[in-house]
Subunit: 411 residues, 2 copies
């Protein structure tokens, strides 16, 4: 039940050390401009060719200024050329002043790049409610632009990190009917991660020739099975977004409802799942990646309710942290999810080891179960025996380190 | 905005060291029968007079055997005489065998007390999915009954504890039109605490003369503003219940829709709030009790959605643990709750200190805020400026200790 393997047919090939700049025509840079003490904190993505653009955004009602600005650009359907991202400050809950800060960053970046302001997308991540020291960004724009280069994707991936420990970057090639298309991506996020764009940024580039509408459709489809199925802590943030930028450099056109559209969307889903899983595996304080499969549910809605309940249950996530095969917590969380479930019909597996048979029969070997839970990647499969709907989610365990990171985030 | 103080008019007087046996005619005992290694693990509550009875139960679909048995007794509307409670084993997810275990405990207790089986309520709390060693209970029944006494409430309060650190017991007298009525209660719970009866047991006794229907109405009303407004970890357990037992010994009759009914319900709500708050204050790993007031919301539903979001937000709860006035997390959690909220209209207070004025204006002194958060009891008030609905919830902070307790629960 690993969705990735479904997407990874022979038509999709991942590239070593891939990123957004693995796609022809894209340049990127990442520098330290002084928002953080030492680490890189400012990134730029640039394309000489005009870009079609699609995005999905946080559902949080306190939307950060960059979210509002990008949604506005998206609504107008115009092409874009660049994307500037800062870490350390979220520019959320900063009111009119914060909005003007974002506009100033957008304007000055546009001037420096000699493009129109509406051709520059903006993005921020970090502490909520504090004004960005804008001058640190604007006075670094020349350096940032000078450093643009066709191998800059990894610098950009590094500059957008906050509490992330690992840079997240991928690229793949997908064979379509008339040739290859490349898709690259970078992502960040490790806390405030939950479906519908929690504090999670993901930027994807491609050389496919695809219009805004079709690109948006492909993105939405792919996000539903990737970024919308991960949870680190159940929090949905003010800032988060997935953006896809397409420069058409491959000259391979992707039309709606074509076979190539399906392949392209599958490839997009594949890279988005890679990024989503890498975010969860690097979840704050996480010691393991947990794949949650819900099978034979009465409906997809029920399957997702249960998967979400397990992915957000502190008792399940602490048991996983302690390598404790405490299956009762899993059944309890699933049964209080609001989903249609008959607890006594459920079968439960850790990896391939059956923990629970219908009727609450448990004859597994405790030590075998503990050994499975000690792995860095584990899967929990709950077979509801009540229908045909399936879903897969990803989460991580809850460790003491999660608390430590988040009780002392600003100190 | 402390709801307790509203209920504590001059008509309600709390008794020192009160419990279920502060009410005339009730006896209780609590002993060690061997379910736990050393501590008390079995409790009995008994009344010579027949008892009217009301209850609210977990909404979890994996209901423990005792929940099903008590709901069945409640449905029949017959009077009861006793209540037996064990800790260490939840008797949930134990199938038919577990159900028969509970019935055996009920039957043998009835025989030993010389009452009918349907006059004995049963309750369990502890690990899910493991069978109760029934013989340890049944072979201790004689001792348990011998130890019944009119001051046994505190022993019972101790015997029902699991990860609780503090015994929870209260009693009050309320002055009605024709005399005083006493209400006593014991409770347990510190993890798996969330609205609609999470792993939380609460048993209330009273000498009021009140029929099942009126008692159930009063209980439901009081629970909505007490046990249904607390959260330790967002988990709703398989076992939980609030039971009220009334022996009529005061001869003071409480009729529906009377002034005395209102006073009695107010008193019941008051003791239930005391118990609910004591559960949260003793939440697993908790270092402080947090009162969450949502004021001037568009509707009660919106107010409760926001309060629940704050009470369950790991980022808010870890910030409180770290004495970090990170108000952005509060606004972010409130704004992603699904409630109708205009984040830029919100005012936020810690205690009496205003942290945020509408329009994201923050001119508070950081150290003043930190000092308030260092207290053992803190209040967060979010004024939405969007209506007239209010609510109050209670929660605790998330500490590293919470993770430690729950990752190593069974080891």
């Amino acid at each position: 039940m690993d969705t990735t393997s479904v997407a990874q047919t022979e038509k999709i090939t991942y590239l070593e050390n891939g990123s957004i700049t693995s796609v022809q025509g894209f340049e990127a840079s990442g520098i330290h401009c002084g928002l953080k003490r030492k680490r890189k904190d400012l990134a730029l993505v640039y394309s000489k060719l005009p870009l079609t653009y699609a995005g999905t955004f946080t559902t949080n009602k306190a939307k950060a200024a960059p979210v509002i600005i990008n949604q506005d650009i998206l609504r107008k359907g115009k092409k874009v050329r660049a994307l500037i991202i800062n870490s350390a400050y979220a520019n959320a809950c900063t009111g009119i002043d914060g909005h003007l800060d974002a506009v100033e960053i957008q304007n000055k970046t546009a001037t420096a790049l000699k493009v129109a302001p509406t051709e520059v997308l903006v993005s921020s991540t970090g502490v909520i409610g504090e004004r960005i020291p804008v001058k640190k960004i604007t006075s670094s724009l020349n350096t940032l632009i000078e450093k643009l280069n066709p191998n800059g994707g990894l610098d950009a991936a590094q500059a957008i990190m906050t509490t992330d420990l690992i840079k997240k970057h991928f690229a793949l090639e997908v064979q379509l009917s008339k040739g290859k298309v490349t898709i690259g991506g970078i992502a960040k996020g490790s806390g405030m991660i939950h479906p519908n764009m929690a504090t999670m940024l993901s930027f994807v580039t491609t050389d496919a020739k695809i219009n805004n509408t079709v690109l948006q459709k492909a993105l939405t489809e792919s996000v539903n099975d990737s970024f919308n199925k991960i949870s680190v802590d159940g929090e949905t943030s003010t800032n988060d977004m997935v953006l896809v930028l397409a420069n058409g450099a491959s000259d391979i056109v992707i039309e709606e409802n074509s076979n190539d559209y399906n392949l392209f969307t599958k490839a997009l889903k594949s890279i988005n799942i890679k990024m989503a899983k890498s975010i969860v595996a690097d979840g704050e304080g996480a010691t393991k990646l947990i794949t949650i499969n819900i099978t034979n549910a009465p409906s997809e809605k029920d399957a997702n309710l249960i998967a979400e309940a397990l992915a957000t249950s502190p008792l399940v996530k602490t048991a996983m942290n302690g390598n404790d095969p405490n299956w009762g917590r899993i059944i309890s969380a699933a049964s209080s999810s609001g989903a249609d479930i008959s607890p006594n019909k459920v079968a439960l597996y850790f990896g391939n080891l059956q923990i629970l048979k219908p009727g609450y029969i448990t004859d597994f070997n405790e030590q075998d179960a503990v050994n499975i839970l000690k792995e860095k990647e584990i899967s929990i499969t709950l077979d509801l025996s009540s229908g045909t709907a399936n879903t897969t989610w990803w989460t991580c365990d809850y460790s003491e380190q999660y608390i430590k990171i988040n009780s002392q985030y600003r100190t």
